[in-house]
Symmetry: D2
Amino acid sequence: LAETAVGVREMSKQLGRTRVRSHIQNVLIVTKARDNRLIKLTRQLALYLMLKPRKGGRGMVVYVDAQLRTSRRFDAAGIQAEHPELFAPFPQRRASNSSFSSSSSKADNDSISEGQLRYWTAEMCSKSPHLFDFVVTLGGDGTVLFTSWLFQRIVPPVLPFALGSLGFLTNFDFADHESVMDNAMDNGIRVNLRMRFTCTVYRTVGGECTRRAIKKGETGEIMMKNLDKGGWEALESGYPPHDGKVGAKDKEIKCFSTQPVESFEVINDLVVDRGPSPYVSQLELFGDEHHLTTVQGDGLCVATPTGSTAYSLSAGGSLVHPEIPAILLTPICPHTLSFRPMLLPDSMELRVCVPFNSRSTAWASFDGRGRVELKQGDHIKITASRYPFPTVCADSQSTDWFNSISRTLKWNERERQKSFV
Amino acid sequence: LAETAVGVREMSKQLGRTRVRSHIQNVLIVTKARDNRLIKLTRQLALYLMLKPRKGGRGMVVYVDAQLRTSRRFDAAGIQAEHPELFAPFPQRRASNSSFSSSSSKADNDSISEGQLRYWTAEMCSKSPHLFDFVVTLGGDGTVLFTSWLFQRIVPPVLPFALGSLGFLTNFDFADHESVMDNAMDNGIRVNLRMRFTCTVYRTVGGECTRRAIKKGETGEIMMKNLDKGGWEALESGYPPHDGKVGAKDKEIKCFSTQPVESFEVINDLVVDRGPSPYVSQLELFGDEHHLTTVQGDGLCVATPTGSTAYSLSAGGSLVHPEIPAILLTPICPHTLSFRPMLLPDSMELRVCVPFNSRSTAWASFDGRGRVELKQGDHIKITASRYPFPTVCADSQSTDWFNSISRTLKWNERERQKSFV
Amino acid sequence: LAETAVGVREMSKQLGRTRVRSHIQNVLIVTKARDNRLIKLTRQLALYLMLKPRKGGRGMVVYVDAQLRTSRRFDAAGIQAEHPELFAPFPQRRASNSSFSSSSSKADNDSISEGQLRYWTAEMCSKSPHLFDFVVTLGGDGTVLFTSWLFQRIVPPVLPFALGSLGFLTNFDFADHESVMDNAMDNGIRVNLRMRFTCTVYRTVGGECTRRAIKKGETGEIMMKNLDKGGWEALESGYPPHDGKVGAKDKEIKCFSTQPVESFEVINDLVVDRGPSPYVSQLELFGDEHHLTTVQGDGLCVATPTGSTAYSLSAGGSLVHPEIPAILLTPICPHTLSFRPMLLPDSMELRVCVPFNSRSTAWASFDGRGRVELKQGDHIKITASRYPFPTVCADSQSTDWFNSISRTLKWNERERQKSFV
Amino acid sequence: LAETAVGVREMSKQLGRTRVRSHIQNVLIVTKARDNRLIKLTRQLALYLMLKPRKGGRGMVVYVDAQLRTSRRFDAAGIQAEHPELFAPFPQRRASNSSFSSSSSKADNDSISEGQLRYWTAEMCSKSPHLFDFVVTLGGDGTVLFTSWLFQRIVPPVLPFALGSLGFLTNFDFADHESVMDNAMDNGIRVNLRMRFTCTVYRTVGGECTRRAIKKGETGEIMMKNLDKGGWEALESGYPPHDGKVGAKDKEIKCFSTQPVESFEVINDLVVDRGPSPYVSQLELFGDEHHLTTVQGDGLCVATPTGSTAYSLSAGGSLVHPEIPAILLTPICPHTLSFRPMLLPDSMELRVCVPFNSRSTAWASFDGRGRVELKQGDHIKITASRYPFPTVCADSQSTDWFNSISRTLKWNERERQKSFV
């Protein structure tokens, strides 16, 4: 048994560092399409990738933001005038990358007659991710988060270039883009599979249900029964009884049916807070259908290890290496002195509920986006996603993360005393 | 690739919860042999296990502490007088439990002619762990730590009974010992494989070596070369250069050969601190041969997830569920404001070095025992152990841990406002 | 010099514990006028105070909330029917309490012909605080905060009764109200002068001003000049220069005139945060006209020692005894690892500015009330108030505070290990 | 009443910033007498002070460490050879500085015939502090702490010069020593009166005493009676009773007489910890004779505001401006999750006791010095000292402290994102 455990550990380790050598042909470039400076750099990068001949004879197929189609600064017409050969129809191979491909689609067929410069839309990213072998981002960490937002299901490997200072997620310097890209094409890449969460919002429907939940008198734990296939029962808060009053009776509590209404993939965190409400939020937290605790305070941050350097850190969470399979539970300004942050196994299914007796509603945001109001009785289910986010890592990957936290957070730095001569 | 990752996650999850049904025959009881109250309970438990007939016809073989052989309170003679049948030679099966067995030894042969009541010594635990199918502990968490100390290599499954309040590791109440033991025998057990660390102490030997290490001018990183097979080079501390003085030169630094002198398995933590020294300790921390950071303060705690509720918690670390494969790095009263606790993958190999230029030595303790002085140039290597510590878990295991932290730490508890009338 | 310091310390100590014996005649009762349960208790307390004869011969004059004038539950008509003597004109003494009195007003004259049961309005509290010798609150800490809100200038001594659990501010149990009130009348009271802050909101007016501020090149400090009497200049944020680039030039920066628009007295805290904005707030903090630091994060809490058990505590601040003359500066989820909470002397004048280059506006709340938006260029000035909040303390006052934090926060409590047998 | 409070606040504020213009004639220089580099600088400073003529006609009288009398590097003989005029008898004025002088002593008489270069000993500092009008320190913060150690009673104003980086206490750069000294002589100085603590060690004497203490059944509080004038009763620990078991009986507990044995003045902190013991320390904390709490963990730090940037900060305490009259109570790695650091009024008298039932002894250190073992029954009393430590402040004093914490601790600093052009 123990040997198997060692084996699994070894396997996990290897998995995070696989070098993938594949035929990369279709590259998508993500950037802020409204930033003039970035448009120029996008043009420069696109030209480099399209013009430099690769194994297949021609350069690569590059997808840029559809908003650039008519951008004067991007000047697609100018590219066509200067490099007409890029616009000759490009023979598309049938399947892009074995790990990420799926069946061919209408989009594939359309692209057969296109040239090397193409335009992507958000819909293509969400519906046909297999069109792209590779994603390059230009910008800061925000651009990488936006990429995660675009690809709500399968995500191609992402190579993030930083402009200016390197960030947590942007560990390649744009100044080196030519050598970095050439190296990736020639020698393959290593990817980190960063965990994402699938966050599903459940809302109360219909009237009071006939099903019931039991609040155990002795432990205060709430036992669910008759769990619906699709829905789930939101509950009044369950308080641990005081002073070990043994013998308290079990109690049936009313509950409502809920059903899933929308779902988000996050790479950093889900934050549930009181929003503009002046009142403290009260949230009930369940893990694998058991009541874990009641959160009273400004809210709760549920973060991935990747997100451990984001909001969770501000709220007092530990720094967690992205390779660790864990869920970070970090309270935001909690009302108790003893609500120390906690890490749970990534196999656990969490639910954050706004109880029926809450004074106010709560607000959820997903990687800082998509602020959604949760009414009394609503809840969010959080599970490790089936669609991780693969980021290309530098060869010095094992210390990359340390460098990024020292650089960006000044982690454990102190002015060294200068000595006097 | 992503599917494989999901598979591995699932496998890890299952692994931690395997139900083992095996023929348990030889049970070892660990307790504080000097506590009179505990001796009485040990006697009671031993009699229960030996007398109740099991599948094989007779009861079980029970090993108690060799110190009890002559204890008046344990009164072995009284047992023999009352139950002579227990002292009839007991036919020993050849291999105890397939997962934990190894080749037969002299100890095995000796035991052939013994009865059901036998005596264990520390040496038997460390050299012949396969003699025991099962370990029962009576006492608090300290007794479980002591059991880990006894079994420095393979550990049989451990079932910890608490006397009085349940602890983090002692999740079975002695009051229920009969039903708990019967259930384990009849239905098998589930075990948690708790990670341990192997901590190896390296000490400086001989004169200055001819090998060299390079301190990179630009990054301050220390690159090792000519790493010895058995030993390792301890270093002067590597400072990140100030103010981005680019172009600083690489520098050879003197280093000494070190060699391993002793090794400890810990289930909670390794703590390196300044001991009685009034001076701040300065420690250099390396991960996979790269310099990670310099620790200035009272010291450093390197803890397993199991140890996250022990010293690491006092020093400000997060609570970490025991199933998460991670190493906790928690500074003890650090001198910088920004030394937030950190979690590293359990696949990383850590080294904690006392640099040559340190003003004082440091002291290491292993699960709070075995205080060892580390001189300038010495270091300790920490790796995930090949010998995890299997603890029997209750069926409600997933919430066991939450209950223990609420109960023992009052985690996130607050006096609820009593309302009037 | 040193002896003087000792003298001042002693004097401060005495001051916080003066026993005031005064002729208390006019008592104001504050409670939540919409809570039926509280209305009944208010009636009960008012009758007790009015009926029990005091030194002057008759009972006391009691002011209740004007909303109760027509309350069926309070039933003023019923009181009049049962106790007509209470409604005989009551000879009002000329000055209530020497420390808190001021010149007589129209309200005084009106009251000459009234009986013992009178009605207060918010306007009377803010404009004629000298009408009341004493305030009694019924409810929780919130009711005491509301009383502070009512009395924006001089505050009569406040005796807070708790219903149910005692709180931080409500240290008298309503169950004892008869003996507590009698004791206060007969033996006088001791009061704690709790510090309040005066928070003044300044808003940008008019166009760009002709005055200037200087940003020092070398230190990054912003030096103000031509400070207007009434207004103050809000600033672009001042960054400490990087890497000790010595010789950076001073720079004039544009600034706008601001003028005070409203002012609040707070007893707990001023909180400036990002409100519903998804963006991090950026605030510039000045102390005595010098730039102290830039706050990036969810916001900033500026708390009195009394407020150290409220929001500041949730945000990570220390517990501060109410007698200490200090201002607590506690960041809310700051973006840096090193923003440790800080205490400043109560003699310092703080300003929290929303800089012109801030991405978003900020929101201020005063003791959790009066949410006000701060636009770019606006700021809030915080100074120790000239109007402290006198609360009656129990005789065991020195340990009162410890009891309240142990009771309410479970400060430093841990489940003691129960021993077995 | 309120106006008086405002007056006291104002007075305290002024007091901390008094400008003292006095006739400074006798200067003492403190430095590490074993550091060769420092000896040279001491010589340079001494010569400057002795040679430059002041109002009185000649230069100043300078006291250097008696260890330098025979130092080759200091070369007193060389000074005499070059400047024989310095060794002419110097007419000593009768009283140095009115605030710090006392009656004349034998030392005074001795000095009449001496020249301008004199030698100080530790005994002179402790017994005749009035000999010195002014102290100059050369070195780091440690040298200032050493100065506090030398002057256990009255302390002359201290002007600390830093060599290399400025520290918390060393806010003058030695490079400017000529202008700083001239300015101090010509224009007088401003001093901060930094609070010190008087820490008195009490040890158990004799057999069991006949006096008694009462442990209140209902509250767990321990009431002292028959407090000895000189001694004090150390106690068994007092536990708050569980679960509000009302009606528990009062209990007499045995106690021993203790008597004071030694006393230390500290400017930073008193630290009581477990020293080399592997066991957790258990300390009982009393404030003004009431039991406040039980400290379980590595120990307790009791710090002045000046010490808030030293060990207290490492242990998690807040930053406290040196002008605030408060005592910082910061637990060291406490065993409870809820032991938030706390600030108490400087008028409170604290006692830290090692209870009789403690498993191990504890160790106390005073500003990091004088490690003393506390046995079961011993305790330490901490009170604000009658002998504050006056340090000279720069004119920009109000922001001095902020600069020092930003500079030395990188408080609230973050790498600003460099933007890409």
